[in-house]
Symmetry: C2
Subunit: 349 residues, 2 copies
């Protein structure tokens, strides 16, 4: 007998991404019969409205996942490592928004516009890529399909909401203090658990996540490694510099690419992007039309503009890619994976 809907759990339900996940499930009319909202002890007991009904957030524990079909995790890597296998054990499919399982070769790392078919070989856990990676590969995959792809160099302009609700508050509080000529003490950014914290209001911080031995940050290495995995291109040259700027929501990326084919024009790149799934082309210099983070908030699409052919290399191009990091970069991509699981018959009503 067909059910009316699925039993969905959201882990990290009170966080910046969790809230967007719940909203996105409602907006997309995802067939939810039961919604279980889970969090740490600290946030348990809060009430969240879903489709007009109040749902109380409960403490996440192994038993919480009994009967759950799909569990969307966004409560930090440690929670995912501890509880995702417990959810799988109880029959749930986990869509994990943390970096805990992304590079695990038994776990597909999925952006539906790019590699939806990787969902078919999942073993219970599906990883949602890093926000900066998702919006970039959505724009690069149609170019790769049409013209091949050899090299990517990206510099990011990342919003503070990528670091959570506390970082949004910190930006607001600091900006107010600076405009009022008052003092303040940075406490959250660039990385809460790091020893040093820096001003983000009216500043730019070239550190997102901690540093690795090779001088790149983990955020930069996520973009590099995840792009290769999602696009099935271990040989692709990718380099990233990740920078936090004083924007609440909406990541921007300045991207240089080299394609395989020679003789391609910027017009041909634009034509491909115009037809690409999940992409909105915003590129008309004569009308000052280009994507900006302030315009992308609340939208599921990836916006691309400033497309130019390089002046020196025939096969090189420059792009400017913007998207809502909480939606396509996190909540929407996770719900979209859930929609794909239904569509592909990997989960059934």
């Amino acid at each position: 007998m067909e059910r009316k809907g699925l039993h969905v759990a959201v882990v990290g339900a009170t966080g910046a991404v969790g809230q967007q996940m719940i909203q996105t499930l409602e907006n997309r009319k995802f067939p939810v019969e039961t919604l279980t909202l889970l969090s740490s002890e600290r946030s348990a007991g809060k009430k969240v409205v879903f489709k007009g009904q109040e749902i109380e957030v409960q403490v996440a524990k192994p038993e919480s996942f009994a009967g759950v079909d799909i569990a969307l995790f966004s409560a930090g890597g440690a929670v995912s490592k501890a509880l995702a296998p417990e959810a799988v054990k109880r029959g749930a499919i986990v869509v994990d928004n943390t970096s805990a399982f992304r590079m695990d070769e038994n776990v597909p790392l999925v952006v539906p516009e790019v590699n939806e078919s990787d969902l078919t070989w999942h073993n219970g856990i599906i990883a949602n890529p890093n926000c900066s990676t998702i919006q970039m590969v959505v724009a690069l995959e149609p170019i790769r399909q049409a013209f091949g792809l050899k090299k990517v160099i990206v510099s990011t302009y990342q919003a503070v909401s990528g670091a959570g609700s506390q970082a949004i508050e910190e930006l607001k509080t600091q900006a107010k203090a600076i405009l009022a000529g008052e003092s303040f003490t940075p406490e959250i950014l660039p990385v809460k658990s790091e020893r040093k914290h820096y001003q983000i209001a009216f500043n730019a911080i070239p550190q997102i996540d901690k540093f690795q031995e090779n001088g790149f940050t983990f955020e930069e290495m996520k973009m590099i490694n995840e792009t290769k995995k999602i696009m099935h291109m271990p040989e692709l040259e990718v380099a990233a510099t990740c920078v936090r700027i004083p924007v609440m929501t909406g990541h921007s990326e300045s991207v240089y690419i080299e394609v395989e084919k020679e003789g391609i024009s910027a017009e041909q790149i634009k034509r491909v992007l115009k037809e690409a799934p999940g992409v909105v082309l915003q590129d008309d210099p004569a009308d000052q039309l280009y994507p900006m983070p302030a315009d992308c908030v609340g939208k599921n699409d990836v916006f691309v503009g400033r497309i130019r052919k390089d002046l020196d290399r025939d096969n090189a191009f420059h792009l400017w890619i913007v998207s809502d990091n909480l939606l396509k970069g996190a909540a929407w991509n996770s719900v979209q994976i859930a929609e794909s699981l239904l569509k592909l018959g990997l989960v059934n009503l």
Copy 2:
């Protein structure tokens, strides 16, 4: 008979850069005997303090330059085009901070750390490069000297003060309005004379100056063409994407370079930059040390950090370059050119 000092004129004395020029002349103890402050009719009559004395700003006209030894221009391209030749006719050497003469082959384009000797063939006018270009070439020239340079790709994170005092006010006003939940109307950025204006507070605008036919902005083409001219490398591959971010003062740049020599390490690049004139190396990931615009304000140096060897190409590196766009990017480079003119005997006490 040796004079006590020179007769210096500052054109655009009440602007963001002009004010910094006057302050820099004082801070550097530049030998000024007479300081003539000039502006448009709108700002004439204002009084500016120099070395404890009030000087009244006068309307700039051809006769204003009688007896002037060095005239520092920063009042827009149209003013420079009209009055710089008049100043030269009256015997002054002009250091022009606008783009009016930069690509004129009879005009040297000078960053003293890079090409001071180009001052010797001046014909009355010396051009001060674009702010974004200056800080980049100060960091790249010592690398070029040591290891050769083939390719540069830069993405900028530019402060609003590069667009003048009105843009600083606009950022503050907008930020206050947004934090208070009030409405506002963008009027200055990205380009005052353009048809459309966009929010800069908590946003990023990928347009600085107007667009050219080829899809690049004039700002981007300035970085490309000026870098080649200053470094005497017409064959250098340079590409730029210029972006305005909500920072008052201090431009940041994410720069990818390919050097000629193979087998160079990031340590070797750091060692070269540590000894380079005008450069301060701030690069210690273990101590979260890297340059940020909020730290560079009021300083003459160019700060470089986040130096990493590319993971794919042996001869490629990534750098993060930050400097005060009103100082090394404008006022300090202009006064530094004046100091070089004295040092080289091209102007005499």
